[in-house]
Assembly symmetry: C2
Homo-oligomer: 280 residues x 2
C-alpha cells in the first residue's frame, strides 16, 4: 500500500517528511553574516562545511555554486543573515542513507537580528551540559538539541547568553557563541576537543594571532576562571566580538583595556568577502 | 525585507524550512509496529514520548488524539510501520524556542520492511562511537547522527546490524536495536545511563522478567563478552526479538537453547494493542 501521512490531523502529501535533516538531523549548516550584499568570512565557512562533510561521510557541495546563490540572495541587502543547509537529502524511513545519495542545498536569507552593534552581554551558567563526542565536535551539524535545551532554561531578556559546560564541568562555549577569557594580557579560549563548535570568528582570532606571533592558548577552562578573569569576550558570525558585562553575580569592568586581538578581530569579521583566515 | 530561500537553486516558499525538527532536530519520534490495523505496545511508546517531553522541556502531546490518528492511518493494514513525530514546531532562525510554543504532530505510515519474520542477523562492530550525555540518553529524540554515521560504515547486504560502543569502548546497542547477551542461563543487557535508546521491546523483556521474578542484569558489557556469549539477541519495535548468527569472525550456535524470556518477549511484542509492560 502507499504511504499515508497526517500532519496536525490533516492528510498531507508529506514529501518534506522524507528529508533526512528532519528525520535525523542528517546534515550541516552555516550561519553567515551578509554585509553590503556579500557574505563575510566565506572561505572560513566553507572550510568548516568541508570538514563537516568529511566527518559525516557526505560529499562536498559545489562551493562555487553556493557562493553564486549566496550572492543572489544577498543582493541589495545592507546587512542580513544567510543560513545555508547541506543535507543528506531525502530517503524512506531508516538510518541507512539511500544509494545514490542526493544531498540538498538550502539557502535562506533573513533580516539582521541586532539593531546596530550588539552591546555588552550578561551571561548565566546553563544547567544542561554538552554531550561529549570528539567525532562530532567542532563541526556545525544539525544535531543541536544541547543548545536548544540550554537556551530554553531562561526567559529573562536582560540575560543574553548562557555558558555551557562539558560533562566534566569544564567551560566549553555559549549556546550560540565561543568564548575568550582575558587575564592581564593573556587570552585563553576553551579547547573544543570533545564538544562545542569551532566558530569562524574564533578561527579568525586564532589565525590573526598566529600571523602576529601572538599567543592565544586553547585550554581547559574552569567556571572559577571566568569569575577570576579581567574580561570575557563572546564571538560568532553575527555578533562578531562582544564584551561580557556580567556572569552570574560577577560584574566586569568594561573600562579594562580590551585585548588588541579582540579589537582587530571585531574590525575584520564583518568585512564582506573572503577575507579573514587566509589573509589573517 | 522579507525572507528569501533557494532550495537546490529554486526559489521556494520554504515554510517547512522553519520547522525546528529540521533546523535543530528539536523533537522526538517513535517507530511503532502496526499489526491488523492496530499499533503494538502503544502504552510503552507513549511512556517514552512522555519522558522525552520532560527531558526536552516540551509539552506532552494529546495521547488520545495520537491514538485516534494512529488508528486512522493503520486501518486496513495487516502489518505496517507507523512513525510518529512530536516536534517543537516552527520558528525563525535561532536556538530559542518561540512563545507560545506550538508543537506539531506528524504521523506517517509505510509498508512493513521485512518479508515475514526476520531471520538470524550478522553483526559488525562500528568504528563511530556514541556521544555521551545522560540528559539525552534513553529517549528517542531527533538528533540521530551517531546512528546515521555508524550505519553508513558498511554496504555489505550480508551484514544486518552494527554494534555501537560508547566513548570508553563499552558495548551500548546496535544502530537500530538493543542487545541482550546470554551466557548459560543468565541474560545481560547494556546499561543505557550515558548513551543509547531505551527500546520498548527491551522494556517489555525487562518488565516480563520482573513479573516472573527472573533476573536480567543491566550492566557494563565489553566487546569480549559478546564473543564469549552463548547467544546474542537484538530487539526493536519492528524486528521484535532476533537472534544473532555472527559477530565479526564469531559464529553462534543457533541450536543453543533460546532463553525463555526472549521467546516470551517475541511472542508478545507484535500483539496489537496496549499489551506489554503494564500486563507484563
Amino acid at each position: 500500500m502507499h504511504d499515508d501521512s497526517l500532519i496536525d490531523g490533516v492528510a498531507a502529501d508529506a514529501d518534506w517528511l522524507n528529508e533526512r535533516a528532519l528525520q535525523f538531523g542528517d546534515g550541516l549548516f552555516e550561519t553567515v553574516a551578509v554585509v553590503r550584499g556579500e557574505p563575510c568570512l566565506w572561505d572560513a565557512h566553507m572550510a568548516r562545511f568541508a570538514e563537516g562533510c568529511r566527518r559525516l561521510h557526505l560529499p562536498k557541495p559545489d562551493f562555487g555554486l553556493l557562493e553564486e546563490e549566496a550572492g543572489l540572495l544577498g543582493a541589495g541587502r545592507a546587512q542580513a543573515v544567510l543560513k545555508i543547509y547541506w543535507t543528506a537529502g531525502r530517503s524512506a524511513r531508516g538510518y541507512r542513507r539511500p544509494t545514490p545519495l542526493q544531498p540538498r542545498r538550502m539557502l535562506h536569507v533573513s533580516d539582521w537580528p541586532y539593531a546596530g552593534q550588539a552591546g555588552a552581554w550578561v551571561l548565566r551558567q546553563c544547567l544542561h551540559r554538552l554531550g561529549e563526542n570528539p567525532a562530532l565536535a567542532q563541526i556545525k551539524h544539525l544535531n543541536r538539541l544541547d543548545q536548544v535545551i540550554a537556551r530554553s532554561e531562561w526567559d529573562d531578556p536582560t540575560i543574553q547568553e548562557g555558558i555551557m559546560l562539558g560533562q566534566d564541568g569544564r567551560v566549553v562555549c555559549g549556546t550560540l557563541s565561543n568564548l575568550f577569557v582575558q587575564k592581564g594580557n593573556t587570552l585563553v579560549t576553551p579547547s573544543l576537543a570533545g564538544a562545542g563548535i569551532a566558530g569562524v570568528v574564533r578561527g579568525l582570532a586564532l589565525a590573526i594571532a598566529r600571523t602576529n606571533g601572538e599567543q592565544v592558548h586553547e585550554d581547559v577552562i574552569s567556571v572559577q576562571q571566568l569569575s577570576d578573569a579581567d574580561a570575557l569576550y563572546l564571538t560568532n558570525s553575527l555578533i562578531g566580538v562582544v564584551r561580557v558585562a556580567g556572569f552570574g553575580t560577577r560584574r566586569y569592568d568594561l573600562d579594562f583595556a580590551e585585548h588588541p586581538l579582540m579589537t582587530e578581530t571585531r574590525r575584520r569579521c564583518h568585512q564582506p568577502g573572503r577575507e579573514g583566515i587566509d589573509n589573517g
